[in-house]
């Protein structure tokens, strides 16, 4: 699903440097990325998603070499094949849960909002236990319910890859495991791989593989 070779990235000349000689994520695999803050975990997710452009190396996602795509093609590819789950949920307060789930269809012509997408949104919401709360706005939902909405939004486009950036970071201990299981269950239902950044070590046994990111960080050379 994801194939990375000789990836390098640096934030300016004096910032930290990231170097990933090789990283592979198989179809349907669930991989956790752990590591200290500032080690570049979120940066890697942004590089895979094409939000950041690497200095060198190659990233291949679902058979497409994303590092070779133009900016517009990158955005189209991201909209169609990658789902995001954020730590702060990133829901829009002015939209109902239903419209938040369908939000990706509102912001890019790469996705077409049709009846099937609406049915998919409702089915996902039912599966995530928020089927009766679709007309509520985020401020009328609990933290766990908000993250369920965010998971539905990541999955409604039927992506091949889910990038989860500390998706359970803001949840209470009981909810963390439930939400992660829900994410895996729903990702498995659409055949999506999951690459998740997390600090919750008690959740690591639930992943197929754990990647310690400290090995990829390089300090910038002293002037």
């Amino acid at each position: 699903m994801v194939d990375i070779e000789e990836l390098s990235f640096a934030y300016g000349a004096r910032g930290f440097r990231l170097r990933v000689p090789q990283l592979r994520l198989d179809d349907g695999e669930r991989v956790a990325i752990v590591g200290p803050s500032g080690s570049g975990k979120t940066t890697l997710l942004n590089l895979i998603a094409g939000i950041l452009k690497p200095d060198g190396g190659r990233i291949d996602v679902a058979g497409t070499e994303v590092t070779a795509l133009s900016d517009a093609a990158h955005r189209r590819f991201r909209a169609r094949h990658i789902g995001f789950v954020f730590q702060d949920f990133a829901l829009l307060d002015y939209l109902s849960a239903r419209q938040n789930i369908l939000y990706p269809y509102r912001i890019t012509p790469a996705l077409k909002l049709d009846g099937a997408a609406r049915v998919r949104a409702e089915t996902l919401a039912e599966a995530c236990g928020i089927g009766d709360k679709l007309d509520r706005h985020p401020n009328a939902l609990s933290q766990g319910e908000q993250q369920r909405v965010a998971i539905c939004r990541a999955l409604v486009t039927q992506p091949r890859l889910i990038l989860s950036d500390e998706a359970t970071g803001n949840l209470d201990p009981d909810s963390k495991a439930r939400i992660l299981d829900l994410l895996f269950e729903q990702a498995g239902a659409v055949g999506a791989s999951v690459l998740a950044v997390t600090h919750d070590h008690e959740l690591l046994p639930r992943f197929g593989r754990v990647l310690d990111f400290a090995q990829f960080r390089e300090e910038a050379p002293l002037p």
């Binding site: 991201r78 909209a79 995001f84 990133a90 912001i107 890019t108 909002l113």
Partner: protein, 389 residues
Amino acid sequence: MNALYLAFAYLRYHWARSLVLVLVAALIMFVPVATQTLLSTSERALVARGEATPLLLGSRGSQLDLTMAALYFSDERPDPVTMGEVERIWDSDLGTPIPLHTAFSSGGFRIVGTTLDYFDFRAFTPAEGRGLSLLGDAVIGAEVARALGKGVGDSLVSAPENLFDLDGVYPLEMPIVGVLAPTNTPDDAAIFVDIKTAWVIQGIGHGHEDVVTAADVAAGTAALANAAVVQYQRITPENIESFHFHGAQDDFPASAVVVVPHDTRSATILKGRYLDAEGPTQLIAPAGVIQGLVDRIFRIKSLLDIVTAIIALAACAAIALALFLTYRLRAREIATAVKLGARRSMVLRLLAAETVTLLLISGGIAAAGAALVTRNAETWVGWLLALGT
């Protein structure tokens, strides 16, 4: 469409903020248009009233006071001219003189004593009742009828000018015999009576118990009535015969005289007869006086325009700041949209759609308001001009 959908959802969710922005933007658009419409309509109405009144005869003094009193029935009180001046115009056979007596009021509206020629001159149409026929009759304008809630069969009482002036003005009860159709002119806010009725209010004429007969009074052979004699405060069919006037009618007063010359030549001759700057009377063309007033108003308007522009600029800056702060608040949404695959143009559309939606709603409200003002400008201007009376 998606950008507009999201913009509308955003505006609806933050409805209080949106409402304030929409109203402020609508006001910025509406106020200059409404002001311009009302001012230009006022100009037309003022000039039209002036142009519809060819010549005005009055006591020498302020031409503006004379014009305002005779055309707009304002509070200005130019020195009266005598009815002898009216006779002089009749005798010249150069025009029709129409005396106006505007010294009194009732219920806050001016009582205009005149002759039936005024009704023909202004082409009044009665909406109800009949015209003036008997001493004491009153025909009221449409605005008087509306404001006082009166109609044919009701009555009005003239306001006493000085309660302690026992020799002077007594309140006179006047039956309303007609209501005029609206004209959107100061005539709507006037109470028309025969000029003789105005003289009765002034105390020049009166009716009282038959201590002596009217014939005796006319012959000058009667004793003067004393304070014990009851004066009538209402003219009725039973007592109308007792009403009489003291002195020669040529000496009776009028506030002004509208003069309708038979033709241009007659107008020129008439004007020539009143050129003497030392004479007690003046003959003016109200259109010129009104135009001078309008020019002065519009010079002030240009100052007002500058003030309006500065305020509009400040309000626009406030709106721009509010929108900028909104964009800052939506920065997180934009970052999310970019991560989910939104194109740059979509991000711009998301931000622009909110502004465009706001402006469209504001523009719609402003246009509706402007249409309302335009449709009712003449009525409202007539009312505004009547406020000064």
